[in-house]
Symmetry: C2
Subunit: 158 residues, 2 copies
């Protein structure tokens, strides 16, 4: 799962992308529009500023803006930045690779092989879509509509 913070960061960046070229956007506007706790958003935007993703200016007409044109930022970049990796296990990450603890040798781990496939597909999607791209929205599921057939296995309670 993406952390709440990562999700906030993505939405904030989308907001800034939408207003790109329009001068500084104030934190309060972003927070209100994106439904993000104001104080928390300050820490997120400051972090993004430290990373060089957004510019900022204080004072009366201050605010934030994208320091990089939205066409040069992919969603993959954003997630890597906030979360470190796109992969589902550390050993399947290509940029933030790390050995899993208590695992087999990497070359012998089937889980890793699988998760590497997943991470590469995920990257193919997320690195292919840029902050400037329009995104086709998807309506909420109307209860059991729209969903694939139930999986073979549906045991337990959760």
């Amino acid at each position: 799962m993406l952390s709440q913070k990562t999700r906030y960061a993505i939405r904030a960046m989308q907001h800034l992308a939408d207003r790109h070229g329009q001068g500084p956007v104030q934190l309060a506007e972003i927070a209100a529009a994106q439904n993000i706790p104001v104080k928390f958003l300050t820490t997120i935007l400051s972090e993004l500023a430290r990373y060089g993703m957004v510019g900022s200016k204080r004072g009366k007409v201050g605010g934030y803006w994208l320091a990089i044109p939205p066409v040069d930022i992919t969603y993959g970049d954003l997630i890597r930045l906030m979360r470190g990796s796109l992969a589902l296990v550390p050993c399947a990450s290509r940029f933030a690779h790390e050995k899993c603890s208590h695992c087999l040798a990497e070359g012998d781990c089937r889980t890793r092989a699988l998760m590497l496939q997943v991470r590469d597909q995920t990257a193919a999607i997320l690195d292919g879509i840029r902050l400037s791209d329009p995104i086709e929205l998807i309506p909420p599921f109307a209860n059991d509509d729209d969903r694939p057939a139930a999986p073979k296995l549906h045991l337990g309670d959760e």
Copy 2:
């Protein structure tokens, strides 16, 4: 990321799949072969037994075995079972759907639309591979080999 527990569960199930049809496999064997802390593995296997995934027997020649033929268990099933969902955000889950807190309306959330694509691709991979399938192992990355070109964005330190 998958939790450590989920990863252990997957490896344990792989182990049982490999020994399917050979009678009960003892916990100690699994723990040793898969490098999983013995005590922790007991809780995991018990849980899997409660879910009906594995059978168990106590006593001298006791042990665990798959209660379902490995050809009928996909990796997707396993992850759903242990983790609840394949998706990266709750609102993009198809079987364990849940509204994200502090978000936009689902129909207006670009992040959700994106993450739904990712989850569907992930599901396509993980629901297509069964515990009985051979998996082509992938050798460890030889430092910077084998990786895609560095992403456009490589800022900050981590």
